[in-house]
Symmetry: C2
Subunit: 184 residues, 2 copies
């Protein structure tokens, strides 16, 4: 049996539960039902409930890394494409960011989740830093500003149910334009 596929199945089920019903509903029985499994079968792959949360946020980080790695590193639009990966511009990314927001918020009071969320933050910051460098923007502190701006934009999109996030592109474009960078 493919145990890794089972993990992915459960994790994606937990994502859907978080997005549709919120953290309160992230229970063993709800996840099992969403994944089409018996609660006891779920516990074979995930012995404890904490491990579901842990793997779920770790999966967000991995998915982000995969998407960024798929961008041609030498492309002149690498930076612009990468920054777009940090915005919830389609259903997939929106789902991931709803999950990372919910689990990230929970991580504030959950020692098990805290290091994972810190790693995710570090990854985003690193991407902003590299994007700045690729765009020839060297002002100190600019990467932090860019990270805060992008996370803030993503936050607002995710918090508003119907928002497709298209408008965030325009805001980001204007900001980069002011820095003397053209986006395509």
């Amino acid at each position: 049996m493919d145990l890794q596929a089972r993990e992915r199945q459960v994790i994606e089920a937990s994502w859907r539960v978080i997005a549709r019903q919120g953290m309160r509903a992230l229970t063993v029985r709800n996840i099992a039902q969403e994944a089409g499994l018996a609660p006891s079968s779920l516990r074979y792959a995930f012995p404890t409930q904490d491990s579901v949360r842990e793997k779920s946020i770790r999966a967000v980080l991995e998915r982000l890394r995969e998407r960024v790695a798929a961008i041609a590193p030498d492309s002149p639009s690498w930076a612009w494409q990468t920054l777009q990966e940090l915005l919830p511009l389609d259903d997939e990314r929106r789902l991931e960011m709803e999950v990372s927001l919910a689990l990230g918020t929970a991580a504030v009071t959950d020692p098990l989740l805290a290091p994972l969320r810190a790693e995710l933050d570090a990854e985003v910051y690193s991407l902003c830093e590299r994007a700045c460098a690729a765009l020839g923007l060297e002002r100190p502190g600019l990467a932090r500003e860019l990270q805060a701006l992008i996370d803030g934009l993503a936050l607002h999109v995710v918090l508003v149910p119907g928002d497709d996030g298209r408008w965030t592109l325009e805001v980001l474009r204007l900001r980069l334009q002011e820095l003397g960078v053209a986006c395509d």
Copy 2:
């Protein structure tokens, strides 16, 4: 008996529970213990559990409005002072923002909380808009950028346990400086 004082007492207890133990622990019995009340007594002022969450996020909005209203409207530094009220620069504001983040995230899947969070967002946007106007910044979309930047900065401070948020002032100052505005 002062029923309004009782409400405030319970709400602040719920804030502390959220900040210290997270949303999972926001239960009737935990709040009651934190407030020094018997669970049944709590239910006299708050008949249902939902009402605690609702009043808690509403209280955040009211506190923000009070703080902003206390700033001299004609002061030349009104905008700068107001923007600072949106950042978690001391324990009080940090607590409020931890609560608004936790409850705001929960509001995504909680129809009762959603309108309150929307109102809170609208208030912050309105403040950013007025701050832009007071600073003579008229570029369309700038208020949205400012709101995203500030919320993103606040988010990062709140998500990192030890962070005192002082660095966000520098980021914001640099951004406004680039727009031709000096901060004091």
